[in-house]
Symmetry: C2
């Protein structure tokens, strides 16, 4: 059997009991380590799972899926994914490939940032499509998220922004020269995300959002050091959210009075938050 | 500490290791038992958690929150929620109340149908707002979901429809007479959901969707008997999805060729599915 097992969000104990029992009886265990990360080292996972863990980078998953799936019709193989298995297309690809090979597949679900983002204090029901914000480079500043946010906001919905992580990436130069030298990992902060959002708004100028738009920054969701801060984009640009991973929820108009109370409990500055609520949601 | 612990989707072993360790050291353990259900009996949970479990029905949660929170500043109290804690407003209410009382709160996340719905084979990124479909009565046929679905579809997004469950509900007559007699539990099927969707489309007539619209019915997500079937609404109306819980994903236009492959693997009828894809997505 080929098991795709979600690990949840923070550490080795976020795996489900079913997931743990399963991984402990698998012959080979892979860890997908490029679309997200846990907040603990692989060694700690290995000790807890009582199994060696093979780190599967993007190259391995995209080019060596048959190696990962080898013999999975005869022995149990686990593919561990931070969060829930259905977060990224990559895993869909692997599941499709397994089924083509006649290998039975079982998925063990877990929390993902897509549902745990509810910790920001607003109802998940009113989230629209999710966007990815990738690191801007000198001459590569992809801004298709702007249309997606506009669409969401046009019907009052919130937008979950997932922030780029760069793990085992090559510089352009090393890639061009075929040198397998990798850059140190980088994780986008809420501050960088806000900078990029506002840069694109300035360029496009359609007032999809402004410095005064309410949003919630969330960091290390599900861990003991989780941080949730609600405020305007201008305020969140200045908050130190600490270690990765960070995400941002850009709020739409569909908010309920209970939700304002949750936002107030996490306000960067309660007075300012109340001003913005009074200004932007006068009927609440 | 007041712990709000997600139980995941199917059975007692879907709790996380962190959640299990926590519940086992709590003095009182409540189980929220009216917005969703697990597929196992409470006795099985009690045995596995090594704790008595107090069933908290809607009345208790909405009117006796202080009883649930009693002494939680001094002893550990667990409030168990099927899926993830942030699925329903009710729990937000309880968390707000705890914080008002100065009680520390910790949330232990888990899979929810909001992210596990990814098992239907399409990317979670392209889901819009979620809608609830409630059982129609003779003279109460709420159809505000129709606007929500229209909004989602107008920008190409999929819609997750969560289907009504009625647990410990009184009949109108028993409620009017103040008799605490409860009806047997009822869980909406995919078939009933499709009937209601099409009834409202017929009444409103804006062609937000039709009998020929593609959708995916999902049942018992995360369990060994999980069922996923993709087809037109007319087809899904006829499929027997078996025991609860059921959900429906109404597909939007934003689909990727890999996603069509996932849908094909779960087709009610592959030939018909290919016809619909060729007709509705000629460029794919």
């Amino acid at each position: 059997m080929f098991y795709v097992i979600g690990l949840g969000l923070a550490d080795e104990r976020d795996i489900t009991v079913k997931g743990l029992e399963t991984v402990r009886r698998c012959e080979r265990v892979y860890l997908e380590a490029y679309t997200s990360i846990l907040m603990v080292e692989t060694e700690r996972l290995e000790k807890f799972y009582e199994r060696s863990v093979i780190t599967a980078d993007r190259e391995m998953v995209e080019t060596s899926s048959d190696e990962i799936l080898k013999d999975a019709d005869k022995v149990d193989v686990a593919f561990l994914v931070v969060g829930d298995p259905f977060g990224a297309t990559t895993h869909t690809d692997l599941v499709l490939r397994a089924r083509e090979l006649g290998i039975p597949v079982e998925v063990i679900h877990n929390a993902s940032i897509m549902n745990a983002a509810g910790c920001c204090g607003v109802q998940l029901y009113n989230f629209g499509q999710t966007v990815s914000i990738v690191f801007f480079h000198d001459n590569w500043r992809p801004d298709s998220f702007y249309e997606r946010i506009r669409e969401n906001r046009s019907i009052g919905l919130h937008t979950l922004c997932l922030l780029d992580i760069k793990v085992k990436e090559q510089s352009w130069e090393n890639m061009a020269r075929g040198r397998k030298i990798y850059e140190p990992p980088r994780y986008m902060t809420v501050n960088q995300c806000v900078d990029q959002l506002l840069e694109v708004e300035e360029k496009r100028g359609e007032k999809v959002y402004t410095e005064e738009t309410l949003a919630v920054g969330i960091a290390r969701v599900g861990s003991a050091t989780q941080l949730v801060r609600a405020g305007t984009l201008a305020q969140l640009r200045e908050v130190d959210f600490g270690a990765p991973l960070h995400s941002l929820v850009l709020l739409g108009s569909r908010l309920h009075y209970l939700e304002f109370d949750m936002l107030r409990q996490n306000a960067v500055d309660l007075e300012k938050l109340n001003e913005v609520i009074a200004r932007d949601f006068p009927e609440k």
